[in-house]
Amino acid sequence: MDKVILRLKERSNIPVEAEAICPDLFLTKSQQEIEELALYYGNKGRRLGDFFQVQGERSDNIVIEGEIPNFKKIGQGMSRGNIHIQGDVGMHLGALMKGGRILVEGNVSDWLGAEMEGGSIRVKGNAGHLVGAAYRGSSRGMRGGEIIVEGDGGSEVGELMRRGLIVIGGRAGDFVGAFLIAGTIVVLGPVGLRPGAGMKRGTIVAFQEPDLLPTFHYNCLCQLSFLRIYLHHLREEDLNIPQEYLGGFYKRYNGDTLELGKGEILVWAGQVA
């Protein structure tokens, strides 16, 4: 497959605004045009070629080699293609994206997939705060698509999310699914404080007993077909979902009753009732 490889020349700590690294843009550009794409390095305008050795052209397949935790907004608003990041990467990765796929071998910083509308993001390491969240002031966060973080996630995962699926393989920070409007968040590790605070609808699935707010009410012990579908899907995505999770029972809490109260937190309760 055709691809454009970006090889980092030199590591830096100064933030780079790199929304120009986007498959939609690369698709029609020659190698030279890609090198000329504008990036902000701190408050100075630079060219992409100043940071990366570019190999390949006119492809919506982008491979980035090197550690770029200071590069922000990569894949912002992308609608197609692939970005494969072989190291760590900075904030706002895949924010507002509409389609395509992002794969990160390392860790990512905050605002991963913020307000994304479609497509999928896979992170093999950890993610920062506000995965799939709404930018401050927005009425809605993630509106579709899938984010899978194999490691840990920070605080406010899926804040104000409207639709889609977020999976945190490890531990999630405080306020998971805060103000959730709809959508599904699955946390395989421990969950921080106040999950689902202010949620209206939507689902948070936890496998370790969380500390719930008093505005969440216990309903029953249940087995839910839809959850089996989701867990099956995650198995197909090569996540380690034990058989006990599929066949097991879940405690269903509804909340946040300060809001609509039609959201749910499902807590795995073991294989037998």
Binding site: Y135, R136, G137, S138, S139
Partner: protein, 542 residues
């Protein structure tokens, strides 16, 4: 010292309708040809260009506490509209609730040079002036909210009229205000109890007075003090179906006295429910046509994002329930309140489309352009930088009909499609500068006669009025070139416009007692000192 040469001048105050005139400027004022030294005269070539006085906005919300609440609850509004700095200007953000500097730049870039901040709670006057200090280029004044003030309501109840006049006079002084504003008189006080008033004769809880009494009293005070601007009134029942009756009654309350009714579009509705909200603009326009004591500004709807903000707290709560959007409510102690709700006016919404048509009906059915003033009640009905679009709608019947066809068909239930009137440039000059200046009592603004402030906007003469009024070639403020070809070229601080009226010292003692008992700040910290303002100008009373 310069001469603007060969331009097509529109100066309705002097009856100049597009004739070629030279305009002479010295020391920030327009002067007679014999008052300049012709030898050392710079010449601005305005041939083929249209010359007007700087625009005057009679009603806008650009500074103060509720504007700031709007900024705080709408980071998304700013994120979409970043404004980088230039050599001359500061960076900032728009959109509907922009930063002070950005608002000022954008006004100047339309050729507007004087703005009235339309709703200042006395307690927040200091804050408002502080924001206005950061609003460069333009001159600005503050209309002070008094329609729900405890002191005034109480003394209307006790019938002590002199005390009220003294208090109002003192309050204008303390706030460094320009005029009296009343918003939903009595309704905001009742909102403190979770209620509203539904008509002019409802009781204000705890005071036993009525909106009718409040309006009558404030008109009387305003006229006795001889303030340059009449009472600036936001009527009861804003936004509600059938409210035109309240509006009509309110106009009758004024009798022969001067009265300015603001954002009349929001007060011109028929119907019994939101579902059948309709236009009663023709009825109100007819009444206004027959009563020269009345003036209005329109509050024209612009389709798109707005941030509604008004002292009318109960209405804002209703709007919050209608829109399910975010809502901030603010209570200003003994004086007033405010509510802020972001809103989206949609072309395909039957109510919004009707509101849009009603605004245009008011513009077109009120015959005397001197008494109908262009506003969007920024940022309530639309951001002010859409004024050129409104101008085009007024000047171009074809464009208006096209837009009418593109909005919800319910708008066609209004008279709009049957109105053929098209505004001339002369009339546009009236509704955007000469008219508001006259209605504000700003005798040195809104015209290009000798002695006027040299606030001058020069536009390219284009068929597309929207483009023309969005792109002034030159804008002068006090004779300084501040905008050239769409760019801000000078940093300059405009003046605060104030009035000075007299009051009896005895009133201060009584206010002091009130403050000791009920206010969260002491009287000493309340009045805004004159030397707090970087530049000011006292406008004489009548």
């Amino acid at each position: 010292m310069f001469r603007i040469s060969g331009g097509e001048v529109y100066d309705p105050l002097h009856g100049i309708n597009g004739e070629k005139r030279d305009i002479y400027v010295r020391d920030g004022k327009i002067v007679a040809p014999e008052d300049v030294d012709q030898k050392h005269l710079e010449v601005i070539d305005a041939s083929g260009l249209v010359v007007m006085a700087g625009g005057v906005d009679i009603h806008s919300h650009i500074a103060g506490s509720k504007v700031n609440i709007g900024r705080k609850i709408r980071p998304e509004d700013h994120r979409r509209d970043p404004v980088p700095r230039s050599q001359v200007t500061r960076s900032g953000v728009g959109y509907t609730v922009g930063t002070t500097f950005v608002n000022a730049y954008r006004y100047a870039r339309l050729g507007y040079t004087t703005i009235m901040e339309a709703a200042v709670p006395p307690l927040k006057a200091r804050h408002t002036h502080e924001e206005l200090m950061d609003t460069p280029l333009i001159d600005k004044g503050c209309l002070i909210l008094m329609g729900n003030n405890n002191f005034i309501l109480r003394h209307i109840g006790s019938g002590d009229y002199d005390k009220i006049r003294n208090f109002v006079s003192w309050l204008l002084h303390a706030c460094k205000g320009y005029g009296i504003k009343a918003v939903n008189p009595g309704g905001i006080e009742n909102w403190k109890w979770g209620k509203n008033v539904a008509g002019l004769d409802d009781l204000v809880m705890g005071y036993g007075v009525t909106p009718r009494q409040i309006i009558t009293t404030l008109i009387r005070v305003n006229e006795e003090l001889g303030l340059p601007h009449p009472l600036h009134l936001h009527c009861n029942n804003l936004g509600l179906p059938g409210n035109y009756q309240t509006t009509l009654e309110t106009m009758k309350v004024a009798g022969q006295s001067r009265l300015h009714l603001t954002h009349l579009q929001f007060h011109s509705y028929g119907g019994e429910s939101m579902r059948n909200l309709s236009s009663q603009a023709p009825v109100l326009a007819e009444y206004i046509n027959e009563h020269e004591n009345l003036s209005i500004d329109v509050g024209q709807i612009i389709f798109g994002e707005v941030t509604t903000m008004t002292a009318d707290g109960p209405w804002q709560y209703t709007l919050y329930q209608l829109s399910h959007n975010k809502w901030a409510n603010s209570d200003v102690e003994y004086e007033t309140g405010a509510g802020i709700v972001p809103f989206l006016f949609k072309r395909d919404n039957p109510i919004h489309a009707t509101q849009w048509a009603i605004g245009l009906e008011l513009f077109l059915l009120i015959q005397d352009p001197w008494r109908v003033i262009l506003t969007t009640d920024h940022p309530n009905a639309g951001p002010f930088f859409f004024y050129p679009q409104i101008i085009k709608l007024l000047m171009d019947k074809k464009y208006r009909d096209e837009m009418l066809a593109s909005v919800h068909e319910r708008a066609s239930c209004t008279l709009l499609s049957q109105i053929d009137r098209e505004y001339s440039l002369y009339e546009i000059a009236i509704i955007t500068r000469a008219g508001p200046a006259r209605r504000l009592g700003l005798r040195h603004k809104g015209h290009l006669g000798v002695g006027a402030d040299a606030d001058i906007a020069i536009y390219p003469k284009e068929v597309d009025a929207e483009w023309m009024f969005s792109n002034p070639r030159y804008v002068f403020k006090d004779g300084l070139l501040v905008v050239k070809d769409g760019q801000i070229v000078t940093d300059y601080m405009g003046r605060s416009l104030l009035v000075e009226t007299a009051w009896e010292e005895s009133i201060a003692e009584e206010i002091g007692k009130e403050f000791d008992r009920f206010y969260s700040i002491s009287l000493e910290n309340y009045p805004v000192e004159l030397d707090y303002l970087p530049r000011y100008e006292v406008i004489p009373c009548r």
